[in-house]
Amino acid sequence: MQKAIRKYGAIFVLPTLVAFMIAFVIPFIMGLYLSFCEFTTVTDATFTGLSNYIKAFSGKDFINAMLFTVKFAVVAVVFINLLAFFMALLLTRKMKGTNIFRTVFFMPNLIGGIVLGYIWQSMINAILVQYETTLVADANAGFWGLVILINWQMIGYMMIIYIAGLQNVSTDLLEAARIDGANTIKTLLFVKIPMVMPSITICLFLTVSNCFKLFDQNLALTAGAPSKKTAMLALDIYNSFYNRVGFEGVGQAKAVIFFVIVAVIALTQLTITRRKEVEQ
């Protein structure tokens, strides 16, 4: 078997590798090159050096979008993970109907971002009408609207991962803890959470990267209104690319910076939480 893998492994990997190269690696390298150029379409680029990067930081839109995205990511990640873990704890008890609840809570994750944004926009506006304001007129409403939306969408998914993690905690350990006289909270803190650390790693990674990269929901819910105060990084890059003649290179430069930021944060987070994982 091992011999067969060594002999034919490369051929089996080839289709996926080719697809990956075409869809990710090549556009990424092209983008990296284009971020140093001025261009109208991707085929007529002229090299201009670092001017795109300087222009990216000279307007205040990019910095504001970054601050807003960080603020949003921190709040959303905390809320999503806490609530998802709490729900997972609830739904791993021996109760009737936990399967139905798990299915229902997971369903919001299946709805696409744009549709979700428009539906929530209508719903939130219906509530805000009572207070004589609209979602797009108030930056705070936009921020919390986005937080509520992303929570609604992601909690189910993270909950499933936490449930899987919790179910894998060996019952021997729990019995031993119970015999040793640990109460529920001590069991939770000192037995369950360390054993569930791999799930926490994954969930944190997924929520952090999703919150940073959020675009569809942002565009549909507020489109950055009022006056770009609720625009996140991806929307800002999209706007730079399309709303001004000659700024396509700047949009591309911002995209490269965006990639670096998200990669650094995600990798840092992964390393820290990996270290905390306990051997099963």
Partner: protein, 505 residues
């Protein structure tokens, strides 16, 4: 009951399943198990077939496509690719690929393409960009090998972006037919790169039936539409009508001012055209890198009139889209709405509309400028045809031949007038070949009225989409009460200068 087989020997034995078997191996043949196994296999085969079937559903062939754009982090890629393979004709004949700007005219364009192909045998492919995504779609389509041969730009600003892709059209017949040659987009070298293909006008559309009802009331401030020929009279009439709205059976005089992001173009572009036009006129210029917004008070006056005399409270206007406003007018909830002659389709198309074609008329947008009694509608064009100079000669010639056929042959002209509803600015159109919808008739009436001066479209010189979006956002905040008018004015001045500087490089 278990059947145990070993070679050719089969023994029916009633034994527990945990029979220890060592040495000779007894193969357990459990019929029930085999049936279950077969069922499982069948189920998995059915599921795989279903999966593959859903994959193939997406590869359906369609002749009309509306493309949508999604941006990834690394590069722009189209999510919906035209799947249809167009059979390429020989190089001598060439083919046409037209990227259409107006989604509402898509069906008409497809019919025109089919008719042209039937008549001449030249392949014409029409793809329509979704509303508000023309620039994005053009950017991705034009980078492909199979690029659009015929597309449009919106004016000098669009030309700055696409100058490398526009062919010189000064030798074409189409240019020679253009009635007002000053409208064409010219380059620094004197070549003609964009030819306008439709003239449109906008103003305040009003419902004559409701206006007559008002004039018949006791204590009406005016008794006929002729008396409303300046801003002060307009204001008096509108405010009185708003007070008497219950008697008139309307919810507000003006349809709601749509300030939903993306739907605010009537204010940040069309209405903003007027102060820009008057400032250019005063200074005798046609473009500027520093806009002073001298007529900001006039803009504020008409904008406040729109905000305070409508169907919706000002703070809630961030919810309203253009469709909502046009529907309010069509359903008789409002007496007036600012829009252009393209809006007729929206008014007549609303389900349950109560507005009759004879009652739909245009009024100029008065803002309190001196001499506005002689002001007409705002007429001009933001749609210029361009031929892609990067495609081969045969395709370019075929595209020029296509549009020349459209504006000179009987079939083409009939399609332009009746199906597309365009007022075409070419000498090939006789008087009886103009569109018949009421708003287009009104635009023509105003254009031909020599006592009135049309306000030309200066918004083609606005610095960028970014400027317009920011202006619209400021108006939204002003309507919600979060920004004062002075702050809006400052924002406009600062943004104009910075956007002009940014795009000048």
């Amino acid at each position: 009951m278990v059947l145990l087989t070993h070679g050719a020997v089969t023994l029916p034995i009633t034994v527990p399943h945990t029979l220890p078997v060592t040495g000779c191996v007894w193969q357990e043949q459990n019929r029930k198990g085999e049936v279950l196994f077969m069922k499982k296999k069948l189920l998995s085969v059915l599921l795989s077939v279903a999966m593959v079937a859903t994959l193939l559903v997406g590869c359906g062939e369609t002749t009309t496509e509306t493309t949508e754009e999604a941006v990834t982090e690394e590069a722009t890629e189209e999510t919906a690719e035209p799947v249809e393979e167009v059979a390429k004709t020989t190089d001598e004949v060439g083919q046409v690929y037209y990227l259409n700007f107006k989604p509402e005219a898509e069906e008409a364009w497809q019919a025109i393409a089919a008719a042209y192909t039937a008549e001449t045998g030249v392949e014409v492919r029409v793809v329509t960009a979704a509303s508000g995504t023309y620039e994005q779609t053009l950017k991705s389509e034009i980078a492909k090998e199979d690029a659009p041969t015929l597309f449009q730009i919106n004016g000098p600003v669009g030309y700055a972006s696409w100058s490398n892709y526009c062919a010189d059209l000064s030798d074409t017949q189409l240019y020679s037919w253009l009635l007002d040659k000053s409208l064409a987009i010219t380059g620094d070298d004197g070549g003609v790169y964009g030819i306008p293909y439709v003239v449109e006008g906008y103003g305040i559309i009003y419902n004559n039936a409701i206006m007559n009802k008002y004039f018949a009331l006791d204590g009406a401030v005016a008794t006929s539409m002729d008396e409303i020929n300046n801003f002060d009279t307009l204001k008096a009439v509108v405010e009185d009508m708003q007070d008497k709205k219950d008697d008139l059976g309307i919810e507000g005089v003006f349809a709601s001012t749509s300030l939903l992001p993306g739907e605010d173009w009537r204010w940040q572009t069309h209405l903003a055209n007027l102060p820009v036009y008057y400032e250019y006129k005063e200074k005798g210029i046609s473009d500027t890198s520093e806009f002073e917004f001298l007529y900001s008070d006039n803009y504020k006056a008409i904008f406040d009139l729109y905000l305070n005399n409508s169907c919706t409270a000002p703070a809630l206007l961030g919810n309203i889209s253009v469709n909502d406003s046009m529907a309010e007018f069509a359903l008789g909830k409002a007496a007036m709405v600012q829009n252009g002659n393209w809006g007729w389709g929206q008014i007549s198309g609303v389900e349950g509309n109560v507005v009759v074609a004879e009652d739909v008329k245009f009024m100029p947008i008065y803002t309190g400028v001196e001499g506005e009694e002689n002001q007409g509608l705002c007429t001009g064009t933001e749609n210029f045809f361009c031929i892609n100079s990067q495609v081969n000669e045969a395709d370019q010639a075929a595209s020029i031949a296509f549009i020349e056929w459209l504006f000179s042959s009987d079939a083409g002209k009939a399609a332009v007038t009746n199906d597309l509803g365009f007022i075409a600015p070419f000498s090939t159109f006789e008087d009886d070949e103009k569109p018949t919808d009421p708003l287009a008739q009104e635009v023509i009436r105003y254009m031909e009225d020599t006592t009135k001066t049309s306000v030309s479209w200066t918004f083609t010189t606005f610095p960028s989409q970014e400027f317009k979006n920011n202006f619209g956002s400021a108006l939204l905040e002003y309507a919600a009460g979060n920004m004062s008018w002075d702050e809006v004015k400052d924002l406009v001045v600062v943004q104009w200068a910075s956007e002009k500087a940014a795009t000048a490089e």
